[in-house]
C-alpha cells in the first residue's frame, strides 16, 4: 500500500484571489481546484492528459490540471473558467453562446481557456490555426464546427 504523506499547504493566486488549502503531495491540480477550492467549473474528462477538459492557465500558459500536482502551483497565478469574464460574459463566452459552440458544455471551460491562450498568442488566427490551436481539447458533441466559428468571431470582434 502507498504511504499517505503529510499534507502540505498550497497557496496560489486563483482568479485573482489568494487561496490556500492543505493537500497531500499526490493531489492533482484539478482535485485541488475542484475539491479543495470548490471551483467545479474545471472538469475532469480523462485524467491522462488527452481530452483537455481540465485545461486551466498557470501564469498565462495552458496546462492540463489533471497532470499537474497542486503543490506545483504554490505561489503561482491560476486562471479557471470561473475567473473568465469578471463583468458579464467574456467575448469568447459570448461568441460561444451566439454561435451554439457548446452542447453538453462539459468541454467548454477547457475549450475557452485554450482559445483564450490561442488568441493571446495569435490574435488573428486563420481557421486552420484555430483548428490546430484547439487540437488538444476534445469535444464529443459539436463536431467543432461552431467552436471554430465562435473563436474566429471572437477574434474578429477583438481586432
Amino acid at each position: 500500500m502507498r504511504v499517505v504523506a503529510e499534507r502540505t499547504p498550497v497557496a496560489a493566486i486563483v482568479n485573482g484571489e489568494r487561496r490556500e488549502a492543505f493537500v497531500e503531495p499526490r493531489r492533482s491540480l484539478a482535485d485541488y481546484l475542484r475539491d479543495d477550492l470548490g471551483l467545479t467549473g474545471t472538469h475532469v474528462g480523462c485524467e491522462h492528459g488527452v481530452c483537455g477538459a481540465c485545461t486551466v492557465l498557470v501564469n498565462d500558459r495552458s496546462v492540463r490540471s489533471c497532470l499537474m500536482f497542486a503543490v506545483q502551483v504554490n505561489g503561482q497565478k491560476v486562471l479557471t473558467v470561473e475567473g473568465l469574464g469578471a463583468d458579464g460574459l467574456h467575448p469568447l463566452q459570448q461568441a460561444f453562446h451566439e454561435h451554439h459552440a457548446l452542447q453538453c458544455g462539459f468541454c467548454t471551460p477547457g475549450m475557452l481557456l485554450s482559445a483564450l491562450e490561442l488568441l493571446q498568442i495569435n490574435p488573428t488566427p486563420t481557421e486552420d490555426e484555430v483548428r490546430r490551436g484547439l487540437a488538444g481539447n476534445l469535444c464529443m458533441c459539436t463536431g467543432y464546427v461552431n467552436i471554430v466559428r465562435a473563436v474566429l468571431a471572437a477574434a474578429a470582434t477583438a481586432s
Binding site: M1, R2, V4, E24, R26, R34, G38, L39, T40, G41, T42, H43, V44, G45, C46, E47, H48, V50, C51, A53, T80, V81, E82, L84, G85, L89, Q93, F96, H97, E98, H100, L102, Q103, C104, G105, F106, C107, T108, P109, L112, E127, V130, R131, R132, L134, A135, G136, N137, L138, C139, M140, C141, T142, G143, Y144, V145, N146, I147, V148
Partner: protein, 809 residues
C-alpha cells in the same frame, strides 16, 4: 394560433452556467460527508474466482465499507435484460463465481476519498483460475467454444429469421445477384463526462435517493428498486445535467452497486465517478457485427429483394442483448423501394465488454450494409452510383410509405435531397478535380450515402424476442406544465437533457402555446422523480424528443391554455373562442383594446379562491401523458413498427488517401438533412455537425481492439482515438423540410442521423479514392497501416477477413 418562436434560430437558454463554470454535473454536486467508491475489476476475460478476501481492505481506518460479489448475491436480485431473453443468465452488480470480461466489477470499496478507496483495492486478495476465452462472435458459435454463461448451454443467446415479402420469388426472377460480407467494429461515442452515481439511503423513511447518469429514469428506478427489493416509490432518482450521453450511460449495475453500499452505510451519501479507463474498458461498446448481404437485382440496377444474415457480438452482457438486431429492422430498406427482405439475426455472447446503446444503435451498421450493397450494384451493373440510388428511391408521392418490416415512413423527398447534397459540394466540379488529381497519381475519392434516420421506438418490438407477454411496449412521454402566479411557466417532463438543447426547444414550443416569451418559460431540466412525471418509456433515447417529448409538453400546455382562456373569458365577459394569446396578454380577437395581462389571470388563479374556477380547480397546472397512437404489437407476419418517424439525410464526402502512407484526409464534407419542421435550426445544425463527426471518426479512427485472450488494448484516449478539431473538416449543411403528418409540429428526429449515415459515406469515398488500385471497402474502420498491408499483398478487399472484427495486432 400563429407560431412565433418555433422555427427560430434562438440562442440557447441553458448556456449561461455552462459557459461560466457554474453548472452542476453529478461530480459537482456539493455533498457533505460523502464516501467515495473505487471498483476492483477483473484482469481476466474469463476466469473462475477461487477465493476473494477483502478483510485487509476492510480493516483500513479510511475505509467505510467493502462490497463483494458474494454479498451482492445475498443482498440483491439479479438483473434482467431490457428485452427479457428466452434464456437469461443471472447477472449481478458484481461477479461472484466467475468473471466473463476484462474490467468486470469484482469488488467495491467506499472510503474517505477516492485515493484512499483505490489504495484499499490493492489489499483485496483475489485468486483466479483462468479459463479459455472467446472474443470473436464466429469463434463463440463454434461447437467447442468455451461457454460465457454456462447455465445457458450455448453462446447464441438468440437466433431468428424474419422473411418479409416474396424474397425467394424475387431471387428467382432476378437478372443477377450481388453479394457482400460487410463488417463493423466496436466503438463508442464516449461522452466527455463519464458515468456517475451518488446514492443516499434514509433509514427513517426507507428511501433511496440516487443522483446520477440515466437516459431512461423510469427504467433505472425500476432496476434499482427491483434489485434492492424496494418499491419504485422508495427510490427517488435525480438526473443532473449530463455531460453528453449518446445512449451510453445506461448501466444499471453501477447505480445498484452504489445503492447497496449506501444501504450499508445508512444516511451517508456514497459516490462513484467512473474514470476514463473504466469507461473505455467496461461501460459498454456498440456491437461489432458480421453481415452477409445479398441483393437480387435487374440489369437496370433495380433492387428487387435483399437478404441479410447478421452475427451480432453482444459481449458478455444482457442489458442490451438483442437490441442491435431488432432495431435494424427499422432501416432494412433504407431509402429504397425494396419490397421483399429477409433478415436473419444471431445474438452471440463473447468474453468482451457488454454492448450498449450508442447514437443510432444498430442503424449505422444497417445503413453501411445497404449503402455498400448499393455501391456494389453500381459496380456490378456499370451504372453510376447516383443513378442506382435514384432508380431505387422511394418517390415523394409514395409517402406515407410502408416498408416490408412494417415501418411507415412519414414524409420525405429523397431524390431532391440527394440532388441538393450533390449541389452543395458542386459534384460536377468535384468530378473534374478528381479526374485531374488521378492523372497526377493522387488518390482522391467522392463518397455518396443516403440514409433514413428513425426516431422514437415502439418498445413492443422486443416482443419479437420475448413474446407477446412482454410488459414494456409502445412509446410515450409525460409532462406537467404549471403557469406560476406571476404568469411565467414551468415545464417538468420525463425527458432527460444531455446537451441537445431540449431546454431551449421546449421553451420555444411552450412559449407559442401560452403566448409567452421563451425566457418566461422555465424548463426544470434536472429530472427528479418526486417532481417530474414519467412513464417506463420516458427519457432521452431513440431520438424520441421530436415527436414524444414535444407532444407531451404541448398536451399539458394546451390544458393550461384552456383553463387560462376560460378564466379570462369570465373576466372579459366574452366566449373563450373569441380570445387569443400573445406577448404575455390575453386579447379579444378583433378588439385590441380589450385585453388582460396573463400574469393578472394567473395570480387570481392561485390567490383568489373566491373566484369561480373552471372545473372548480384553483391554479393553472396540468399533467399530460402522451401515448403515440400509431404504436402496435407485432402482427401475424411479425411486422412491427420498430420506430415511429423517419428523417433522412444525404451525405457527400471528399477524401484523399496518401499513396505512400495511406493516411486518409477528409477534405470536404456536406450533409443535406430533412427532419421535417425544425424547432430551432441553430440547434438542428449543431446536432448534424456533431453526429456526422461521430460517424466520420467511427469510420476512420475509433476502435476497441481486443487481443485473442480478451485483453482490451485500447483503454486510454491515446489508444482509442477521438477526433480533434484538426482531424475533421467543417461540416457543410443544407436542408429540406418535409413535415411529418404525425407529430404535432411536423417535426422528426435529428440527433442520430449524422452518425448513421457518415460511416457509409466515408466507406464509399475511400473506395472511390482507391479505385485506381481496385480495392473495395467492406468493413470499418479504415486504418492506414491495414490498408497498406492490403495494397502490399495485392489484395482487392479491405479489410482482410481476419481483421474484419476483433483481431490480434
Amino acid at each position: 394560433m400563429n407560431a412565433t418562436w418555433v422555427g427560430q434560430r434562438f440562442a440557447r437558454k441553458e448556456d449561461g452556467p455552462l459557459l461560466t463554470g457554474h453548472d452542476r454535473f453529478v461530480d459537482d454536486i456539493p455533498m457533505h460527508n460523502v464516501a467515495h467508491v473505487a471498483i476492483l475489476r477483473s484482469p481476466h476475460a474469463h476466469a473462475q474466482i477461487m477465493r476473494l478476501d477483502a478483510s485487509r481492505a476492510a480493516a483500513l481506518p479510511a475505509v467505510y465499507a467493502v462490497l463483494t460479489g458474494e454479498e451482492v448475491v445475498r443482498l440483491s436480485r439479479p438483473q434482467r435484460g431490457r428485452i427479457p431473453l428466452p434464456a437469461s443468465p443471472s447477472v449481478y452488480a458484481l461477479a461472484h463465481d466467475k468473471v466473463v470480461y476484462v474490467g468486470q466489477p469484482v469488488a467495491a470499496v467506499a472510503a474517505v476519498d477516492r485515493a484512499a478507496a483505490e489504495d484499499a483495492l490493492d489489499l483485496i486478495d483475489v485468486e483466479y483460475q483462468p479459463l479459455p476465452a472467446v472474443v470473436s462472435p464466429e469463434g463463440a458459435m463454434a461447437a467447442d467454444a468455451p461457454l460465457v454463461f454456462d447455465e445457458i448451454g450455448s453462446n447464441v443467446l438468440w437466433h431468428d429469421t424474419f422473411p418479409y415479402g416474396d424474397v425467394d420469388g424475387a431471387f428467382r426472377r432476378a437478372d443477377r445477384l450481388v453479394h457482400e460480407r460487410i463488417t463493423i467494429h466496436r466503438y463508442l461515442s464516449t461522452p466527455l463526462e463519464t458515468f456517475g452515481s451518488i446514492a443516499q439511503f434514509d433509514p427513517s423513511t426507507q428511501t433511496m435517493t440516487v443522483w446520477g447518469s440515466a437516459h431512461q429514469p423510469g427504467q433505472e428506478i425500476n432496476n434499482i428498486a427491483s434489485a434492492l427489493g424496494l418499491s419504485p416509490g422508495q427510490v427517488r432518482m435525480i438526473v443532473p445535467p449530463m455531460g453528453g450521453g449518446f445512449g451510453n450511460k445506461t448501466r444499471p449495475i453501477y447505480h445498484i452497486l452504489v445503492a447497496l453500499l449506501a444501504m450499508k452505510l445508512g444516511n451517508r451519501p456514497v459516490k462513484w465517478i467512473e474514470d476514463r479507463r473504466e469507461s473505455l474498458l467496461a461501460l459498454g461498446h456498440a456491437a461489432d457485427g458480421i453481415m452477409d448481404v445479398e441483393a437480387a437485382i435487374q440489369h437496370d440496377g433495380t433492387i428487387l429483394a435483399l437478404k441479410f444474415r447478421n452475427i451480432e457480438n453482444e459481449g458478455a452482457g444482457i442489458d442490451f442483448a438483442g437490441r442491435h438486431n431488432l432495431l435494424m429492422l427499422s432501416n432494412l430498406v433504407n431509402c429504397y423501394r425494396i419490397t421483399a427482405v429477409s433478415y436473419e439475426g444471431y445474438s452471440v455472447v463473447t468474453n468482451s465488454c457488454p454492448v450498449i446503446a450508442n447514437r443510432g444503435i444498430g442503424k449505422p451498421f444497417m445503413c453501411l450494409a445497404v449503402e455498400r450493397i448499393v455501391d456494389a450494384v453500381a459496380r456490378a451493373t456499370g451504372l453510376d452510383r447516383v443513378v442506382v440510388r435514384e432508380r431505387n428511391f422511394i418517390q415523394p408521392h409514395q409517402f406515407p410509405y410502408e416498408t416490408p418490416s412494417g415501418q411507415t415512413y412519414d414524409s420525405g423527398d429523397y431524390p431532391r435531397m440527394l440532388r441538393k447534397a450533390l449541389d452543395l459540394l458542386d459534384y460536377d466540379e468535384l468530378l473534374v478535380e478528381q479526374s485531374s488529381a488521378r492523372a497526377e497519381g493522387r488518390l482522391v475519392g467522392i463518397g455518396i450515402a443516403c440514409g433514413v434516420e428513425p426516431a422514437g421506438s415502439n418498445l413492443a418490438y422486443g416482443m419479437l424476442i420475448s413474446g407477446p407477454g412482454q410488459l414494456l411496449s409502445g412509446q410515450g412521454e409525460a409532462a406537467r406544465v404549471r403557469m406560476e402566479p406571476d404568469g411565467s411557466a414551468t415545464v417538468y417532463t420525463g425527458g432527460i437533457e444531455s446537451g441537445q438543447g431540449h431546454t431551449t426547444s421546449l421553451s420555444q414550443i411552450v412559449a407559442d402555446e401560452l403566448g409567452l416569451h421563451p425566457e418566461r418559460v422555465r424548463i426544470a431540466a434536472t429530472f427528479d422523480s418526486q417532481s417530474h412525471p414519467y412513464v417506463q418509456t420516458s427519457g432521452n433515447y431513440s431520438n424520441k424528443f421530436n415527436g414524444h417529448d414535444t407532444a407531451a409538453a404541448i398536451g399539458a400546455a394546451r390544458k393550461v391554455r384552456d383553463k387560462l382562456l376560460r378564466r379570462a373569458a369570465r373576466m372579459l365577459e366574452v366566449s373563450s373562442d373569441d380570445l387569443e394569446l400573445g406577448d404575455g396578454r390575453v386579447r379579444v380577437m378583433g378588439a385590441p383594446d380589450r385585453s388582460l395581462p396573463i400574469a393578472q389571470i394567473a395570480a387570481r388563479a392561485y390567490w383568489s379562491l373566491t373566484d369561480e374556477a373552471p372545473d372548480d380547480e384553483p391554479g393553472l397546472e396540468a399533467l399530460h401523458y402522451y401515448r403515440n397512437p400509431r404504436v402496435r404489437t407485432p402482427d401475424a407476419q411479425r411486422r412491427v413498427p420498430v420506430q415511429m418517424g423517419f428523417s433522412a439525410a444525404a451525405h457527400v464526402a471528399l477524401v484523399e488517401v496518401d499513396p505512400d502512407t495511406f493516411e486518409i484526409a477528409v477534405r470536404r464534407y456536406g450533409v443535406v438533412h430533412d427532419c421535417g419542421k425544425e424547432i430551432n435550426p441553430l440547434i438542428v445544425e449543431g446536432q448534424v455537425h456533431g453526429a456526422t463527426v461521430h460517424g466520420i471518426a467511427a469510420a476512420l479512427l475509433e476502435e476497441f481492439v481486443y487481443d485473442d485472450e480478451g485483453q482490451l488494448l485500447t483503454t486510454s484516449f491515446m489508444d482509442y482515438l477521438k477526433p480533434s478539431a484538426a482531424d475533421v473538416p467543417t461540416i457543410e449543411t443544407d436542408r429540406l423540410e418535409t413535415p411529418s403528418p404525425w407529430t404535432p409540429l411536423g417535426t422528426k428526429g435529428i440527433g442520430e442521423g449524422g452518425a448513421i449515415v457518415a460511416p457509409a459515406a466515408i466507406a464509399s469515398a475511400v473506395e472511390d479514392a482507391l479505385q485506381p488500385l481496385g480495392i473495395k471497402i467492406t468493413g470499418l474502420p479504415i486504418i492506414p497501416t491495414r490498408l497498406w498491408r492490403v495494397v502490399c499483398d495485392g489484395g482487392t478487399t479491405y479489410p482482410r477477413s481476419r481483421e474484419a472484427y476483433v483481431t490480434a495486432r
